[in-house]
């Protein structure tokens, strides 16, 4: 195994997992909140929020990466603020890669969760309210469990995207081995190199294996959830 992939490539694998994991962890609550707002509330700016959420899908990834760079770079308003106040930086770090992956996957997360929220019968939520559950509790004890299928779908899409994001990542945080060189960036590098195809294929295969494992896990989870709700 050791010579099957180079140490740098193993590093890329580790990094990809970390990036995908954190991208998923962070976009989940935010995606949930945005999906809930879009599904249930009517507020000024709703249409704008909806478009903004979909932007990463519409624009070439390079543009998204460039905009991220403008906003979250060290010189950018948000990145600069975070850097000066918390000492936390996205630029040229794996955190930035996770941010890019999360942003790129955000439309899918939001859509999946939103679809599920829209399918929840408000009558059940009303029933919970008559039993004394306040809005937050209704969400936690009724809505959330019922939208688990959507959350699982969104999570798995985000994780997969986190494993596969390329364009926005390389534009935003460059390709720094051990810092931001995730599997897709490593693969791209190999493909740019004449004769790198075989090694690229190995990396791609590994990436597919990991994603397949994540998928199988999510399917298993989804089946459990379905079985619970179906009452079997």
């Amino acid at each position: 195994m050791q010579d099957w992939l180079s140490p740098a490539e193993w590093e890329a694998v580790r990094l990809s997992l970390r990036v995908a994991l954190w991208a998923t962890l962070f976009s989940l609550p935010l995606g949930l909140a945005v999906a809930y707002a879009l599904a249930r509330w009517r507020f000024p700016g709703r249409e704008v929020l909806n478009v903004v959420v979909h932007l990463p899908l519409i624009m070439p990834p390079v543009v998204t990466g460039y905009l991220l760079l403008l906003a979250f770079g060290i010189k950018g308003p948000i990145g600069g603020f975070l850097d000066s106040t918390l000492g936390f930086a996205f630029a040229f770090r794996w955190t930035g890669a996770a941010l890019a992956a999360g942003v790129m996957a955000f439309p899918f997360m939001v859509r999946a969760v939103r679809l599920s929220i829209e399918a929840v019968d408000p009558k059940l939520e009303q029933a919970a309210a008559t039993l004394g559950a306040s809005g937050a509790w209704v969400f936690l004890t009724v809505t959330l469990p019922l939208i688990l299928p959507g959350i699982i779908a969104g999570t798995v899409l985000t994780f997969a995207k986190g494993m596969g994001e390329f364009g926005a990542t390389i534009t935003f945080v460059s390709n720094i081995p051990g810092q931001t060189q995730t599997i897709p960036l490593a693969i791209d590098l190999l493909l740019e190199t004449p004769g790198g195809e075989a090694r690229a294929a190995r990396l791609a295969g590994l990436s597919i294996l990991m994603a397949a494992a994540a998928l199988a896990f999510s399917e298993w989870m989804a089946r459990r959830v379905a079985a619970r709700v179906g009452g079997r």
Partner: protein, 238 residues
């Protein structure tokens, strides 16, 4: 112009030649009556597409490596390959007031960088990155600076990083640095520090004909030379 024999001629050109190719398209069409289609992408993508039978008549690569690959595959029309353009490598800085730096073996690039990043194109894959790495190696700077290098997937990416100030320094082509106001060139890498930066051109096998020859000729002609030169390229004379 023999409009009666007008054809669509397709040229696959490295993305860094975009502006020059726009001028050349107008001029070539006016001169020959042929319709010129220009496909601009990374050299590796273009080379792969040609391997897969893309309808390219002429390939203009930013990288001799990919041209070699095609040549080995027998995809290049006999005797059409030429080195067309030459470029130079420069060290750029975000700071407009930055004093010039002498690019010599005893410079200390790592010290200049400190905790910051040096923006380059992919040092293993993209020509500008490969040349840059070679130059730093021959100057004895690579080992110290390598951990501080941020690699973009093309030169424009590296340029953008410096232009935005995310990275204080970068290594790019002179042609790219020339058109970006937000960066200043603080040094030029001596030609002997890296292999010659050449853009080879060739006709594609199976597409030989009058149209292909016309384009190859035009690309080496005076109008094209002028267009390339306006973008900062050095045109290699035959």
């Amino acid at each position: 112009p023999s409009v009666a024999r007008a054809e669509v001629v397709t040229v696959f050109a490295a993305a860094s030649l975009t502006t020059a190719m726009a001028e050349i398209e107008t001029g070539f069409e006016a001169l020959t009556g042929h319709d010129l289609a220009v496909s601009l992408a990374g050299s590796s993508a273009l080379a792969r597409q040609i391997q897969q039978g893309a309808p390219a008549d002429v390939f203009l690569s930013a990288n001799p490596g990919w041209m070699d690959t095609l040549e080995i595959d027998g995809l290049i029309a006999q005797g059409t390959r030429r080195d067309l353009l030459r470029n130079t490598l420069v060290l750029i800085a975000h700071d407009a007031q930055h004093p010039p730096v002498e690019i010599v073996p005893d410079m200390d690039l790592a010290a200049m960088l400190g905790d910051d990043r040096l923006a380059m194109a992919l040092v293993e894959a993209v020509p500008a990155g490969i040349y840059g790495k070679a130059a730093l190696e021959s100057l004895g700077q690579w080992e110290a600076t390598a951990p501080r290098v941020a690699q973009s997937n093309n030169v424009r990416g590296a340029l953008a990083l410096v232009a935005l100030g995310e990275a204080p320094y970068g290594i790019v082509y002179a042609t790219d640095a020339a058109v970006e106001d937000a960066v200043s060139v603080i040094g030029t890498f001596p030609a002997e520090t890296h292999p010659p930066i050449v853009y080879p051109m060739a006709g594609i096998a199976g597409h030989e004909g009058a149209a292909q020859s016309a384009l190859l000729d035009y690309l080496q002609g005076a109008e094209a030379r002028a267009a390339f030169a306006r973008q900062g390229f050095a045109v290699i004379a035959d």
